[in-house]
Subunit: 351 residues, 2 copies
């Protein structure tokens, strides 16, 4: 601690490291104090930016000022640093994905229990507006019983050219974006998963997946599609949710979109669609009198709540928001998805 | 024949029966001559509309003027009428779906071979503009190698309230719309299907499916999603096709939409998307300099070609466009899809 402020030491001063450095300037009770990076240039940049620069992870761990170690390295290094930090008596926060397997995660959880040290993960996208809006619609039953949820993230830049394309470092889109949208989906639908379908893409990368479709079959019969693409030059909507009484669409990360509800099932008026070679009444649009279109609800969300929770946990005033059991379940779903893709089969899960 | 015109007798003067009656007024060499319907009111309407009205199917079959029998009844009656027509020496055309099982279809094909009579099906949506456009894009390689094709038909009126909701009559959306979009997809992708995933919906009907997702896994690794919904109050695009060099989207039956191609993979400029709780460069939109947007190609298509082909086949001048092997393959895919849904498993197909 420095005064009454918790001191964070960061491992890895890359893209996400810089993101945390900026965010950590905005708190009264926690701040970024020191940085370790294996790359001498990045370490020099840390020093130039005014942080304590450690020449080794051991030096970082030996600094008694440090309360919290934040790990934002390539994915395959998370486990080593997180366990090292806890053993050195520090609280430990990992970037996502927490690690590469449920066995590794169990080791990390075991050390947290053994040392009594906080161990959690920066699942920041729980605070994204698009997710918060869809969760409100779900929780408040604005569409009636939900039967289908589709969560898509589409880009067109291929997979990033750095370690994110390499299997040994835990690259690939399941671990990069899948971990976010699965974490969101499991928070959204409080049900057991019966079975999992998955199909991985290899459009621009054969070593790791550069996109995927995963379908979760829930106990109630609901299904959820999780989809990531990196060769999609036109994007489908971020969220698409079907209930018995309506449909919600969230177009993008900025939570633009709409809800359309049915107001009158009995009115069956329809002007058939005449196509080049046929006609259809079943697929004709509903008359305006039977539906009601409305904007998406507005939901306040603040990523600062993440570090506020960390501080409250360190003070013994709250439970951690991102829990071990949640992390483990997402990891197991990802493992089941890889297995489903490998076998070309649907795999049972919590049935 | 009447003069030099082929005489068609129609069984079933319902929605599609009327559609054929209108279309058959537009040809020089074939026309609608007579109608049989089990419903006396519909039969009276046929008479009032100027057609020969038969009091029984036997009476229709005994009319030597009739060259072609066109069956537009509920699906479970197709087989009986089609076989009866061929045995009476008539050419036979069935509405889709041709029948309820591959075993029944085999019986119909056997009678066609035995009698030497034309037997085909009105797969009219091969001539729809949206399909023709996507087929041109595929065939001309406008997106480079294709890895994913999505074909969706979304409505919001539930399943029709008549026999289309009853299992005994061959109701349900797989047989109603699935048969169209599967027929299109199998024409589009000239590859063996390795395996099939399917999930049927029962939002408003528990007896038959009122929607579905079917995924075909092709030999090359391509996948195709076929999706029908009848409780979708917002529609996703009719077609969405991903190639290594571009994406095509066809919004609707009227073939509106666009193509976006990549023109420069090497330019990796990106302005990261800043969301409420993070940022992403991977999913950031491409700069305008690296992509080219263009309208969909225009494709001429004429449903009259269907009956022109029938006339040419009757004259011995052409092969039938809608072939027995194609009908059988679609029927087997539908059966495999029902089996996949029942088992909750991916089923092997032509692997």
């Amino acid at each position: 601690m420095v005064g009454n402020k918790y001191a964070v030491a960061l491992v890895g001063y890359g893209g996400m490291g810089h993101w945390h450095a900026r965010l950590l300037k905005e708190f009264e009770e926690i701040f970024l104090y020191g940085i370790y990076d294996i790359n001498p240039e990045k370490l020099a940049a840390a020093k130039a930016d005014g942080y304590v620069a450690y020449n080794s992870f051991a030096e970082l761990c030996a600094d008694e000022t440090v309360d919290v170690v934040l790990v934002a390295t390539p994915n395959d290094f998370h486990k080593e640093y997180i366990i090292g930090a806890m053993r050195a008596g520090k609280a430990a926060i990992s970037e996502k994905p927490v690690t590469l397997s449920s066995a590794d995660l169990q080791d990390m959880i075991d050390v947290s229990r053994e040392t009594g040290k906080l161990f959690t993960v920066h699942q920041n996208r729980r605070w994204d507006g698009d997710f918060r809006v869809i969760k409100k619609i779900y929780d408040e039953g604005m569409l009636g019983d939900i039967h289908r949820i589709e969560s898509r993230v589409h880009g067109s830049r291929g997979i990033p050219g750095d370690w994110r394309g390499q299997k040994v470092h835990g690259g690939g889109m399941v671990l990069d974006w899948g971990v976010h949208i699965l974490d969101q989906m499991l928070l959204l639908v409080p049900e057991k998963i019966k079975s999992i379908y998955a199909h991985m893409h290899h459009v621009t990368n054969y070593e790791v997946d550069d996109g995927f479709e995963i379908v979760l079959h829930f106990e109630s019969g609901k299904t959820a599609l999780l989809e990531v693409g990196t060769s999609n030059f036109i994007n489908l909507p971020r969220w698409y949710m079907l209930g018995e009484n309506g449909t919600a669409q969230v177009d993008n990360f900025h939570a633009e979109g709409k809800i359309v509800n049915i107001t009158n099932w009995d009115n069956r008026d329809a002007v058939p669609i005449v196509t080049a070679a046929g006609l259809t009444k079943t697929m004709a649009p509903r008359t305006k009198e039977t539906i009601k279109e409305q904007p998406l609800p507005v939901v306040e969300s603040d990523i600062h709540d993440y570090y506020k929770n960390i501080v409250a946990v360190l003070k013994g005033e709250a439970e951690q928001i991102v829990r071990h059991d949640q992390l483990m379940r997402v990891m197991r779903v990802m493992e089941a998805a890889f297995e489903a893709d490998r076998l070309g089969q649907i795999v049972p899960f919590e049935a």
